[in-house]
Amino acid sequence: MKHLIEFKEVSKEYILGEKKLLAANKISFTIDEGEFVVVLGPSGAGKSTVLNLLGGMDFATSGEIIINDKNISKYNDEKLTEYRAENVGFVFQFYNLIPTLTAYENVALTKDVVKSALDAAKVLGSVGLEDHLNKFPSQLSGGEQQRVSIARAICKNPTMLLCDEPTGALDSETGVVILSLLQKMSREDKKTVIIVTHNSALAQAADKVIRIKNGKVRDITINDSPLAVSEVNW
C-alpha cells in the first residue's frame, strides 16, 4: 500500500556555537491518508523537529522525506514554501493569530495564499465560532483562539494538519473540546491529523502512536480500536 508520508532515516543537526546537537537521528516512519497520529515524547526529545521537517519549516541534514511520492527534503526554500501553502495546515500551542486581524480575517488570510481556500465564514461555523467572526483575538478565550487557528489550518483544505501541543496552553476541559474537534476532522472529513504532544494519555485515542526519545524513534504502535477523545481517562 502506498503511504502518504514516509520518513527515511531523516537526521537533523543543529550547530550551537562549537557544539553539535543531533535533534533527529535517523528517524523513519510512515503515515497513511486519513490517520489520526500522535507523536509522543518528553520535552527536548525531538518531536517538534520532526514536525518542523514534516511541515517544510526546516531543512533536514540527511535522509529523505517523501510526501505524496515527492521528495521534499530536496526542495529549496521557494518550493518548500509552495509545499507548505498547498499541503500543510499548522496548529500551534500559542495559536499564533495575527492580533490586529479579526477571527474572520485571520482565517480569510489563507485566501491570500491558496486560491482554492474554503469559505472562511463557513469554516469558522464548523468549529462553532459563527457568532465571533468579527472579534479580535484579544477578545476571545484561549479555546476560542485555538479554534480560530484550527479553522485557519483547515480553511486551505490541506493534505495534513500538523498540531504542535495544541492543548498546551489550555485547561483540560477546553483541551478535550479541541482534541475532539481534531479527531472529528480525521474521522469524518478523512483528514490526516498529526499531533505532537508530551501527554501520553492521548495515545489511547490515536490510530498510530510514534514515540520519540533522544532524537530517535523508540517504537511505533498501531491502535486497532482507538477511543474517542472524550472517553480517554486524562
Partner: protein, 757 residues
C-alpha cells in the same frame, strides 16, 4: 487581509507612523516648495531673456559707425548686433526722477515687452516708458512727459509702457532696492530725436552663440581696433548677475534642508520598523508557516514605509509648489521686475520624491530582512536575548562611584545604541537649524552694524547732480559741514581675472572709516590704492601685487600696486585719496557729499538725499526673502525636535515598560523614575547640542558661499543666539519629556510583568 493588518498596525503605532509621514511630507514639501520657486524664476527669466533676445555683450564707446557695426557683425560667433544711444535724462516731475533714454534704430536685441499701449516702432513718434516708473508716477498711455538730457528738452507723448530684460534688477547706483518712482528707463525711435542734433551711438548690443566671453572680447577688440571703452558680458552685467545669484542662493538652501528631514524620516523608519518587525517575529513565522512567500512578506513590511512615504511625498510635492513660492515672490517683487511670477515644477522634484520613497522603503527593507533570513521554525521561536557584557567603563573603579541613576542610564544608552544615536542626531539637527536661523539673522544684522555703524559713520548722503557746479558743491560742503567723495564703477584685472567693482575717492574724509580683515580700525595709506578684502580674494592678489583698472566710460587702463587691504560688506572695489587719484592723472569730480547733519529741504545741485535710516531700511527690505527662509528654518527645527524626541520617547518607553514596572514594584517613586528618564534625555540632548552648534555654523558658511556676488558676509553667531538655540533645544526636550510623565503614572505593574503572550 495583509493590507488591513498594515493599517491596524499603523494605528497601534500611530505616533511613529505619523512622524514618518510628517517627515516625508516636510522633506519633499520644502524641497518642492523652494525648488519650484527658484526653478519658476529661472524658467520665467530665461524665457524672458530668450523672447526679448537679451543681449550677451554690451560694448560702450562713442560714435559707433555703420561700418563698425558691419565689421562686428562679421566676427565669428556674433549672431546679432544693434547700436543705440543711451543717456540719462531728468524728467520734469517732482523730485526730478531720472530716466535712462535708449534711442534705437530698431528694437531687436534686448527687446521691450509691451505692457500697455502700442507696440514699439521706429516710425512712430513718442516715448515708451518703464511700466513700473509709469505706475509709481501714475503716468498713463497718452499722457505727455518732458525729459531733459544734456540741456536738450523734449516733450513726448507716452505711446506705451514696457518692461525690459536689462532692468530685472533696476537699482540706480548706490541704491540696493530699486525705487521705481525715481529711476527708470525709456525707449525712443532715432526718428523721434530732435533732427538738428546728430546722434552719437554709444552702445552696441551684441548677441553671440559663443559664451566664452574672453574669446569674444579678443575678437571684437580686433574688429573695432580697440576703439571702445568697455566690454561687458552678461556675467558681469549687474541686473543679470544679481538675479542669477539670488536664484542660486535659493537653490542652495532648498537642497540642503530636505536632506536633514529625509535623514530623520529614514532613522525613524529604521527604528520603528526594526521594533515592529521584532515584535512580530512570531507573526512572521506564522505567515511563513502558512506558506506566504518571502517576497510577499517583505513587500508587506516594505509597504509600511512605501505607502506612507509615497503619500507624504505626493502631498509635499503638490502642496510645496502651491504655497511656498508665493511667500518668496511677494518679498522679491520689491526688488526685481519680471513679466510674471510663476512657480515651475522641475524634474528634480519628481526625483526627490522618488528618492524619498526609495530611501524610506529601503530603510524598511533593511530593518526586516534579518528576520526573514531565518527558517520558519527559527522565526517562530522568540529571539535569544542579547548577551550583556560588561563594558570597559563598568570594569573600572569609577563605575562603582557612580550612583544607580548614572549606572542605569549609561547601561541603557550603550545597550540601545541606535536609539541613543538617533536621539543625538535629532537634537543635533534641531540645534543646528536654530543656530543657523539665528546666526543668519545675526550675520545680516552684523552687516548693518558693520556698514552703517562701523564704517560709514555719516548721517546723510547728498547725491550730486552731474550738472552741479563747483560753487554749488562748495556751498553744500560749507552749509552741512560735509565731506566730498567720488564714487564710480570700474573694471579691475589681475591674474587674468576680470571683475567689476566700485571706486571710492575721498577728499579728507573722516566719516568713512576702514577696517582690516579682523574688523579692527585701520588707517589707509595716503599714497597708493587700497583694495577690498573680497575683491582681493576674488582676484587672488595681496598687498604689493599689481592690478590694472579703468573707470567705465574711460578707455585708459591704469596699473597700480596694492598698498593696503580693507574689509567691507557691500561695495567691493578699490579706494584712494583725492591726491593719489589726481597724481594718476584723473580729475576728482565729487559725486556725493556726506555729512553728520540731517537734510530736510531740497538742495540745489543735489538729485537725491539719503539718510542712514533710509539705507538701513532698504537693506532690510532686500533681506526679507531671506527672513522667510529663516522662519521656515525655525519652524522646521521645532517640528524636527518634537517629532524625533517624542517618537524616541514612545519607543524607549514601550521598550522599557517592563523594566520601569519592575522599578515601580521594587518601590521606586514615580518622581524618581521620571528623574531617571529625564537624566538620560538631558545627557543625550547635551551631546546633541555640543555637536549641533558647529554643524549650524557650518550650515551658515555653506549658505553664504552661495551668496557670491558683491557681498562679503562674515558668519556671526551672537552669544544671545547661542543661548536661545541651546535653551530652545533643552526646552523642547523637557517639554517632550513632560508628555510622558502621565504615561509613567499609568504604568500597570501587574500586566506589565505578566508573560509575554
Amino acid at each position: 487581509m495583509l493590507i488591513r493588518k498594515m493599517l491596524r498596525d499603523m494605528n497601534v503605532h500611530k505616533t511613529q507612523f505619523i512622524s514618518i509621514f510628517i517627515m516625508s511630507i516636510l522633506g519633499v514639501y520644502i524641497f518642492a516648495g523652494v525648488g519650484s520657486e527658484w526653478y519658476g524664476l529661472r524658467k520665467t527669466v530665461n524665457n524672458y531673456y530668450k523672447e526679448s533676445n537679451f543681449s550677451n555683450v554690451w560694448i560702450y564707446g562713442s560714435d559707433f559707425t555703420t561700418e563698425e557695426v558691419n565689421t562686428v557683425t562679421n566676427v565669428d560667433g556674433v549672431t546679432g548686433i544693434q547700436r543705440r544711444l543711451s543717456l540719462d535724462s531728468v524728467v520734469n516731475l517732482e523730485n526730478s526722477p531720472v530716466l535712462t533714454l535708449h534711442i534705437v534704430e530698431e528694437d531687436k536685441i534686448s527687446k521691450c515687452i509691451l505692457i500697455e499701449g502700442e507696440e514699439f516702432s521706429v516710425d512712430k513718434d513718442g516715448i515708451w516708458i518703464d511700466s513700473l516708473f509709469a505706475e509709481a508716477r501714475k503716468i498713463k498711455v497718452g499722457d505727455s512727459i518732458s525729459v531733459t538730457s544734456n540741456g536738450i528738452s523734449m516733450e513726448k507723448r507716452v505711446m506705451g509702457t514696457v518692461m525690459n530684460p536689462e532692468y530685472v534688477y533696476a537699482a540706480n547706483n548706490n541704491e540696493m532696492i530699486p525705487n521705481h518712482a525715481n529711476f527708470g528707463f525709456a525707449y525712443l525711435s532715432y526718428k523721434a530725436f530732435p533732427l538738428d542734433i546728430p546722434i552719437s551711438y554709444n552702445e552696441l548690443l551684441i548677441t553671440t552663440n559663443n559664451t566664452n566671453y574672453l574669446d569674444m572680447e579678443e575678437k571684437i577688440d580686433k574688429a573695432l581696433n580697440g576703439r571702445y571703452s568697455v566690454f561687458l558680458s552678461r556675467n558681469s552685467m549687474s541686473s543679470y548677475m544679481q538675479f542669477d545669484s539670488e536664484i542660486r542662493q535659493h537653490k542652495g538652501m532648498g537642497e540642503i534642508f530636505p536632506i536633514a528631514f529625509l535623514a530623520i524620516a529614514m532613522l525613524t523608519i529604521l527604528t520603528t520598523m526594526a521594533r515592529i518587525v521584532n515584535n512580530q517575529r512570531t507573526q512572521i513565522g506564522m505567515l511563513k508557516a502558512m506558506g506566504f512567500k518571502k517576497r510577499r512578506i517583505i513587500f508587506h513590511y516594505v509597504s509600511y514605509g512605501l505607502w506612507l512615504s509615497l503619500a507624504g511625498s505626493a502631498i509635499g510635492a503638490i502642496a510645496g509648489p502651491l504655497t511656498m513660492p508665493y511667500l518668496f515672490y511677494e518679498a522679491m517683487q520689491t526688488t526685481y521686475t519680471l513679466p510674471e511670477w510663476k512657480p515651475a515644477i522641475s524634474f528634480s522634484i519628481v526625483v526627490m520624491a522618488v528618492i524619498s520613497v526609495v530611501v524610506c522603503s529601503l530603510a524598511t527593507y533593511l530593518s526586516c530582512k534579518n528576520v526573514l533570513k531565518d527558517t520558519p521554525s527559527q522565526t517562530l521561536r522568540p529571539k535569544e536575548p542579547k548577551i550583556m557584557k560588561q563594558g570597559i567603563l563598568e570594569k573600572t573603579k569609577l563605575w562603582n562611584l557612580l550612583g544607580f541613576n548614572a549606572q542605569w542610564n549609561l547601561r541603557d544608552i550603550f545597550r540601545s545604541k541606535v536609539r541613543s544615536i538617533m536621539a543625538i542626531i535629532g537634537v543635533l539637527g534641531c540645534t543646528a537649524l536654530l543656530v543657523c536661523a539665528f546666526g543668519m539673522q545675526d550675520s545680516f544684522d552684523d552687516i548693518i552694524n558693520w556698514n552703517y555703524k562701523q564704517i560709514n559713520i555719516y548721517e546723510t548722503q547728498l547725491n550730486l547732480s552731474v550738472e552741479a557746479t563747483t560753487d554749488q558743491i562748495q556751498s553744500i560742503i560749507d552749509d552741512y559741514n560735509g565731506e566730498a567723495i567720488m564714487e564710480g564703477a570700474i573694471e579691475i584685472k589681475a591674474n587674468k581675472i576680470k571683475k567689476s567693482g566700485g571706486l571710492l575717492v575721498t577728499d579728507n574724509v573722516t566719516l568713512i572709516r576702514s577696517v582690516n580683515a579682523n574688523r579692527n580700525y585701520i588707517d589707509l595709506p595716503e599714497d597708493g590704492i587700497s583694495i577690498s578684502y573680497k575683491m582681493a580674494e576674488n582676484l587672488d592678489v595681496k598687498v604689493g601685487d599689481e592690478i590694472t583698472w579703468h573707470i567705465y566710460g574711460d578707455e585708459r587702463w591704469t596699473t597700480s600696486t596694492i598698498a593696503a587691504i580693507y574689509r567691507t560688506p557691500m561695495a567691493q572695489g578699490i579706494t584712494m585719496t583725492k591726491d593719489t587719484f589726481n597724481k594718476l592723472g584723473y580729475t576728482f569730480i565729487p559725486t556725493s557729499i556726506i555729512s553728520l547733519e540731517p537734510v530736510e529741504s531740497e538742495v540745489a545741485g543735489v538729485t537725491s538725499t539719503w539718510s542712514i535710516d533710509k539705507l538701513t531700511e532698504s537693506y532690510e527690505t532686500m533681506a526679507e526673502a531671506m527672513n522667510i527662509l529663516i522662519y521656515i528654518l525655525i519652524i522646521g527645527a521645532i517640528v524636527l525636535a518634537v517629532v524625533v524626541l517624542y517618537n524616541l520617547g514612545i519607543l524607549s518607553f514601550t521598550e522599557r515598560q517592563r523594566e520601569l514596572a519592575t522599578l515601580k514594584v521594587i518601590g521606586f517613586k514615580t518622581k524618581k523614575i521620571r528623574r531617571l528618564l529625564l537624566t538620560q534625555n538631558m545627557w543625550l540632548t547635551a551631546v546633541g547640542i555640543v555637536f549641533g552648534i558647529p554643524v549650524g555654523w557650518w550650515l551658515i558658511d555653506y549658505i553664504f558661499a552661495f551668496m557670491g556676488g558683491t557681498f562679503d558676509i562674515m558668519t556671526v553667531v551672537s552669544v544671545t543666539s547661542l543661548i536661545y538655540s541651546i535653551m530652545g533645544t533643552f526646552l523642547l526636550s523637557l517639554l517632550v519629556n513632560r508628555m510622558f510623565s502621565g504615561k509613567l503614572k499609568r504604568i500597570d505593574m501587574v500586566s506589565s510583568l505578566k508573560g509575554a503572550e
